[in-house]
């Protein structure tokens, strides 16, 4: 559709999703969904509640196996690859509800992610304390949590926990970042700084970002490219301007209101 217009340079396909179908007890959560995610692009997946966004993420990250269809990451078929190996390939994700290690300090939260990235978690004799302390500091500075390094993850504010989770995801040096509603539950100001932060990170680290969101402000403020799911079907895909115009999207999702 609009891929050519997005950028003049040659695009590399990061993630290719072809003909994914997934049903639970006869209810189709995803129905023949195909889409491309290009490198360096901020790609949003939107849709009303129950549209299949989380299922979509769960399939990419390997929690669920699709009934049909396949996911390719840089040309590699992800079928039958276990979730932890998918992470090692370079796909990191966050979750809709905050998913951190609440009883561990902010430092330890990041440290374990770094340990896992370097596959050190298998060594029973490698001393852990102070390992990666510089890298942890760096990451914490990126997400503005440096002050809180000593605090326990669970004691942070909701917004900070989201930032921590982002740092955990970044620690694994992913090529593509899957964020499930990164601003959910955040206040207006938190949301705005979060958007700024995400944009910076994507730019600085040449990341690809695939995220779901139902705050339209965030979506249109951030995304280079938007795909719309409805009842498990992909009804539209394109740059924000096209999506804004799309009549079907307007009808089923936006209730005919102008965006």
């Amino acid at each position: 559709m609009g891929r050519e217009k997005l950028s003049e340079k040659k695009l590399i396909v990061m993630l290719k999703i072809s003909n994914i179908t997934k049903s639970f007890d006869g209810f189709f959560a995803l129905d023949d969904v195909s889409l491309f995610v290009d490198q360096g692009v901020i790609h949003a997946v939107i849709g009303p509640n129950g549209a299949g966004k989380t299922t979509f993420f769960n399939i990419i990250s390997g929690i669920l196996a699709p009934d049909n269809g396949s996911v390719y990451f840089k040309g590699q078929n992800l079928a039958k690859i276990e979730p932890h190996k998918i992470v090692q390939l370079g796909i990191a994700r966050s979750f809709q509800r905050v998913n951190i290690f609440p009883r561990k300090t902010v430092f330890e939260n990041i440290q374990i992610a770094l340990i896992a990235r370097d596959q050190l978690h298998r060594s029973p004799f490698k001393k852990a304390s102070n390992l990666f302390s510089e890298e942890v500091e760096e990451l914490l500075k990126v997400v503005n949590l440096f002050e809180q390094v000593e605090l326990r993850g669970g004691d942070l504010s909701h917004g900070m926990q989201k930032q921590l989770e982002l740092a955990i995801a970044l620690a694994s040096q992913p090529k593509i970042l899957l964020l499930d509603e990164p601003t959910a539950g955040m206040s207006l100001s938190e949301t705005q700084s979060c958007i700024k932060l995400l944009k910076n990170i994507v730019q600085d680290r040449a990341l690809t970002l695939l995220f779901t969101e139902h705050d339209m402000q965030v979506v249109f403020g951030m995304a280079d490219y938007i795909s719309v799911l409805h009842h498990g079907r992909l009804i539209a895909s394109g740059p924000p301007s096209k999506i804004r115009e799309n009549s079907e999207v307007k009808r089923v999702y936006l209730g005919n209101k102008a965006l």
Binding site: S61, E82, P83, H84, K85, V87, Q88, A92, R93, N99, I100, F101, P102, R103, K104, E108, Q111, I112, A113, I115, A116, R117, Q119, L120, H121, R122, S123, P124, F125, K126, K127, A128, S129, L131, I168, A171, S172
Partner: protein, 311 residues
Amino acid sequence: MPFYVRKNFWTITALALLAILPLTGSRYSIDLTTQVLIYALFALSLNILVGYLGNLSFGHAAFFSIGGYTCAILLTTYNFPFLISFLTALAFSAIAAFLIGLVCVRRNHMYFAMLTLAFGMLVWAIALKWRPVTGGDDGFVGINIPTILSNPINFYYFTLLTSIIATYALWTICNSTFGQAMIAIRENQNRALFLGIDTQSIRLKAFVISGIFAGLSGILFALYNRGMYPESAFWTESGQVLIMVLLGGMHSFIGPILGAIALYSLEIFINQFTEYWQIVLGGILLIVVLIAPEGLAGGVIWVEKNFLKKS
């Protein structure tokens, strides 16, 4: 004081006291301390699963008794040399833990706990029913131990040395990157998985490590008692060591040691004063549960914090 000594002051003091204990000349204190050391090691091994990995096990006595029985049988029935029996027994505990672990780590929470219970009871049933080999319900009594170990003081030093090495090994494992991975799984298995940690294989490894050290404590137990009994595989025995871990505090490395010392010596001491040891011990446990939720180790920290604030 050099830095190293200052940092480890309490550990060094405790070790020094343990080392000079036989100088007191009290057979009783040597014997009791030997028993406590064995149970402390047993409890430490269980804490790998319960405290670090967050997996409740009701069948840990299985590995304790597999270690003990294997060593006993090899030494006595087959007259194997001590070192070979010792190492083979460790290997058997490891193999058993691996095979049982393969099945158990596929389940979580209570279902994991119940699978360990079922396997533990199977081991018990085998110990009970395989009479020609294990001696059945009479137990395997009269183990040939090397003459050098038949002296209680020598055996005490043997146990002390073994426990120190084992404890140091466990401490290293718990504070390693692997240990961090275990804690990550305990805190949030799902998140750990999405850091790229193969949670199942970490859990299996931890299960095997835990089984080996339980087997080690079982070997010491068999050698010390010169006997091994099917009761040692029964679920109440697994329950007992679990209680030690919980009593001591499972979120600290030292907790299970404190728990083993406390529970084991309390049972022995109270039994010396009253026939109604159950009600006294139960009462003490109740108080500990209600006032020191993090176990004895947590209690010490709590006392320290509160007193420091006042002073």
